[in-house]
């Protein structure tokens, strides 16, 4: 197992399979940063994205690009309704953080149940065939899906970084994430910033579900399971740090992948829970903040 080719394969496959987890984590961490909301409703948006694309591909026979566009439109519409009809109402009532949290969970569960009624519970992949062409590069098997996943993740991650760094709207998002009240004093529309952050999260959720669904079969409750990974990565990367969350997602994926060298495969899932336990107990503000503090001192 300690053959360099095997280690390189684990590295490459671990990076490729971390792609959708990185996208889900970025979506989750961005909303947490800007809206200060543990947005479990993201699982519902992910499920809507997947099933919209599934219908477009398998029932309407649309080409992939059109299916993605339809999936994104459906997710954005659902997100808009969620923000305008749900979150704004709770904000207007000055509801507690707990109520916001419960509301996001309810939205997620409601969506999963509604989709179960419509699509049933049989796992379905996005495309009828789940195999993608593969080539061997320096002893490492590289599939088209791997390349697409890594490419899309880098592209979207870079686009978000540039957007936040250089665009006016991006700067507004950062200002609102620092202090919504202060930002509003400077004339920044916090409600618009919330909407933009949720819309950006929808794009990441939709891209992630495209990658996930083109590799494996999905059931309406699967996104909630995927969300757990995003939550752990966000906690580990430091709450409010989008980049930290993304890096933590890659780290956790690689750790899970490399763990097969020392533990049986069926224990891989346990690693996530160990990290959740350790992070909550010992690094409640995330490893990144801990590292920042130690370097400052």
């Amino acid at each position: 197992m300690l053959d360099p080719a095997v280690l390189a394969q684990i590295l490459w496959t671990g990076i490729a399979t971390s792609s959708y987890m990185v996208l889900f984590t970025i979506a989750f961490a961005l909303v947490l940063k800007v809206l200060k909301l543990w947005n479990f409703a993201q699982a519902g948006m992910m499920a809507i994205a997947f099933y919209a694309m599934y219908v477009a591909v398998n029932q309407w026979g649309l080409p992939t690009a059109a299916a993605i566009a339809f999936g994104l439109a459906a997710t954005l519409a659902a997100t808009l309704a969620y923000e305008v009809l749900g979150l704004r109402t709770l904000r207007a009532r000055r509801s507690s953080s707990l109520l916001f949290f419960i509301f996001t969970l309810v939205c997620s569960e409601f969506t999963a149940y509604a989709l179960t009624l419509v699509f049933g519970t049989e796992p379905v992949p996005l495309f009828p065939e789940i195999l993608s062409p593969t080539r061997i590069v320096a002893g490492v098997a590289v599939s088209d899906w791997d390349l697409l996943a890594v490419g899309v993740t880098i592209l979207l991650g870079a686009a978000l970084a540039l957007y936040l760094r250089f665009s006016r709207d991006g700067q507004f998002l950062l200002a609102v994430s620092d202090s919504a009240e202060l930002a509003e004093l400077y004339g920044i529309d916090a409600r618009r910033a919330y909407l933009v952050a949720l819309a950006a999260a929808s794009v990441f959720a939709c891209a992630g579900m495209y990658l996930y669904g083109s590799r494996t079969a999905v059931i309406p409750t699967a996104p909630l399971q995927l969300m757990l990974f995003a939550v752990i990565a966000t906690l580990l990367g430091g709450m409010g740090s989008v980049l930290g969350g993304a890096l933590a997602a890659v780290f956790l994926s690689l750790l899970q992948s490399y763990s097969v060298l020392v533990i049986p495969s069926q224990w891989q899932g346990l690693i996530l829970y160990v990290f959740l336990f350790v992070t909550i107990l010992f690094f409640p503000t995330g490893v990144r903040r801990l590292w920042n503090t130690s370097t400052r001192s």
């Binding site: 197992m1 053959d3 095997v6 394969q9 684990i10 496959t13 671990g14 399979t17 179960t116 049933g120 519970t121 049989e122 796992p123 992949p125 009828p128 065939e129 789940i130 195999l131 993608s132 593969t134 061997i136 098997a141 599939s143 899906w145 996930y212 590799r215 494996t216 079969a217 059931i219 399971q225 899970q256 992948s257 490399y258 763990s259 097969v260 049986p264 495969s265 069926q266 891989q268 899932g269």
Partner: protein
């Protein structure tokens, strides 16, 4: 008024007497109940629903021919979601509310979970499709009509070694009741035949990425890979295996005998070996008619055809058992149903042939091995 009161009293008395009378003496119009607890929702529902449909065909056919001595069979269907806890709820209801003396269920985890209830309440449980070898040791009131994994998995392991000349095998299995016991059987049979199991690895039932496990396979370089999972994960394991450049021949068990696996894997399914514990359309004319019936009624062949054949046969077995009870003039209790099962002992069934119930709680049937060739399942060999 007094006449009316007398009439009412007479009717009430007759009703009470009828309720107190043993089963065979009650009104001939009363139905003969049995339960069917299968996954109607959840990830296994596509198979569960088709199995229920198979059983429904049989009930319709039996009732169309007049039922059992003029009395109709009544099948009460409840959902288990293939989940042990939901299964326990369903079986409790079948026993305490519906008062069935016998019920049919499947999926190893459910069959095992509900077995203590059957033994405690003395209600006969017929396991029709669960393959875990432990099913044979679940108690006096649990019988299988389906050959357990040690039958077909042993056959496929021996075939791989003896006929295909494979010497080193990797065994990959789902970490639940379906996979764990069957993987042990494969390992034992393959090693007994003279081969080596070079990788023996379980995967999490919730996993979607199997690359770590498959890299262990790549490092060990076996000449055969046996996968014992569920139909939802087997295609994904094979797909990821091929994408990692692993070209070894793959075998699995009866769950893999499903057209969806070929649809999802395309050319990567070529050479896959699966088992079937029921005769195919070319082996038995009734099966051909049955498949045609599916095509006419549902426009397709059923998911997991062999399993649905066993489910078709289950109500036929129940009908034979009721017939035995009526002949013996015994009430329809779980204890008597068990007596009937052992009393009839040899059932000649339309879809799967002769089934003999023996005291070891096992049944022996021929194993049909099939392989994927040019995008279709073709017969490979018949064992036993």
């Amino acid at each position: 008024m007094s006449f009316k009161r007398r009439e009412v009293l007479k009717a009430a008395g007759a009703g009470a007497l009828a309720a107190a009378l043993p089963f065979p003496l009650r009104a001939q119009s009363q139905t003969l109940k049995f339960g069917l607890a299968m996954p109607l929702t959840g990830s296994q529902s596509a198979y569960g629903k088709d199995q229920v449909q198979g059983a429904q065909f049989a009930v319709d056919d039996l009732n169309a021919k007049g039922g059992v001595q003029g009395r109709k069979l009544e099948m009460i269907v409840l959902d288990t979601q293939a989940d042990p806890q939901v299964g326990i709820n369903a079986v409790n209801r079948l026993i305490s509310v519906e008062k069935v003396p016998v019920y049919v269920t499947a999926w190893s985890a459910v069959v095992k979970a509900v077995a203590p209830i059957s033994n405690r309440e003395k209600i006969l449980e017929l396991s029709v499709g669960a393959s875990s070898p432990e099913v044979a040791q679940l108690g006096d009131y649990v019988y299988t009509t389906f050959p357990l994994a040690d039958v077909d998995v042993t056959a496929v392991a021996q075939y791989a070694h003896d006929k295909l000349g494979k010497k080193n095998a990797a065994v990959l299995y789902i970490n639940n009741d379906t996979g764990v016991d069957a993987a042990k059987v494969y390992k034992s049979a393959f090693e007994k035949a003279g081969g080596n199991v070079v990788v023996y690895e379980a995967y999490d039932p919730k996993a979607t990425d199997y690359s770590g496990m498959l890299l262990k396979v790549r490092a060990a370089n076996p000449d055969m890979v046996h996968i014992h999972g569920l139909i939802t994960d087997i295609p994904q394991v094979i797909a990821q295996m091929r994408q990692l450049g692993l070209q070894q021949r793959v075998s699995t068990y009866s769950a893999g005998y499903n057209p969806n696996i070929i649809k999802q894997l395309g050319a990567a399914a070529e050479g896959l070996i699966v088992t079937s514990l029921a005769p195919g359309v070319n082996d038995r004319p009734q099966v051909k008619d049955y498949v045609e019936r599916w095509k006419q009624k549902e426009g397709r062949v059923p998911n997991g055809l062999p399993y649905t054949q066993y489910l078709y046969d289950a109500p036929v077995m129940v009908a034979h058992m009721y017939e035995w009870l009526l002949k013996q003039k015994l009430p329809a209790t779980g204890e008597n149903m068990r007596k009937a099962l052992l009393g009839v002992k040899r059932f000649d069934l339309p879809m799967t042939g002769v089934t003999e119930v023996d005291p070891s709680h096992r049944v022996q049937k021929p194993v049909y091995l099939l392989t994927v060739e040019k995008g279709a399942f073709v017969p490979l060999a018949t064992v036993g």
